[in-house]
Amino acid sequence: MIALHNYLILSAVIFSIGVIGVLIRRNLIVVLMSIELMLNAVNLTFIAFSRYLGSTDGQVIVFFVMAVAAAEAVIGLAIIISVYRHRQSLDPQEMQLLKW
């Protein structure tokens, strides 16, 4: 059988890959997708724990994560559309209004 460790390591790896995407991609949509990837890595952890601890709570939390992810995607994409309308660009490195 596979131990819980394996799932956790897998999810840690996926999470880190998601972090790469967030850090290096110069397209906001891909950044958002990388965040989804990170969320899913966490989901995997929850489900694995739920399975190995025999508790429903992990699954319920994943359910909520999905709901929140849906909301986040909707709002995030809406913001991206607005940003694109104003700046004609999706590159996060070009958006530096917060720069001193």
Binding site: M1, I2, A3, L4, H5, N6, Y7, L8, I9, L10, A12, V13, I14, S16, I17, G18, V19, I20, L23, I24, R25, R26, N27, I29, V30, M33, S34, E36, L37, L44, I47, A48, R51, Y52, L53, G54, T56, D57, Q59, V60, V62, F63, F64, M66, A67, A69, A70, A71, E72, A73, V74, I75, L77, A78, I79, I80, I81, S82, Y84, L90
Partner: protein, 164 residues
């Protein structure tokens, strides 16, 4: 290697590959398709973890709705040019994330965790079980989640609507 391990390692390998594709492909639509693949693989993994309901939800919500939304927006904006070259930052970010993995993996690997799953009942992961849990213990979070979704809808409409 037994069947379960084989399936796990197969899925894990594919999942890592798909995730890497999400991050490193240059065409946005290809990224999205790689992400869809990754999500579907995770859904399969959910099944192996006795969470069929969440598998279906994963497919319906993530793959079926959220990712279609992503594609919709990609097509809506249709940014013609490929991404610009990433330069130095590219290597730095990757390095940083690899370091993160380098810390996270030993962290989870060394913790004291159950090695074998709890024997699952017939009902484990079924819609009934999830529903019972959701509508009794988690009814308040559930309602809050619904309000959150409502707010998200309104917010999206307000944000994406054009002012005239």
């Amino acid at each position: 290697m037994d069947t379960a391990s084989f399936i796990f390692y197969l899925l894990a390998t594919l999942l890592v590959i798909a995730s890497l594709l999400v991050v490193f492909l240059r065409n946005v639509v290809h990224c999205a398709m790689a992400l869809v693949t990754a999500l579907l693989l995770i859904a399969v993994m959910f099944v192996t973890l006795h969470a069929p309901m969440l598998c279906v939800l994963q497919v319906m919500v993530y793959a079926g709705a959220i990712m279609v939304l992503f594609l919709f927006v990609i097509m809506f904006l249709n940014p013609g040019a490929l991404e610009q070259q990433r330069g130095l930052w590219w290597g730095f970010g990757t390095l940083l994330a690899m370091m993160l993995a380098g810390v996270l993996v030993p962290l989870v690997a060394t913790s004291d965790l159950p090695a074998d799953p709890v024997a699952a009942t017939e009902l484990f992961g079924s819609p009934e079980m999830l529903a019972k849990s959701l509508f009794s213990d988690y009814v308040l979070p559930f309602e809050i989640a619904s309000v959150l979704l409502l707010v998200a809808i309104i917010g999206a409409v307000v944000l994406a609507k054009r002012e005239n």
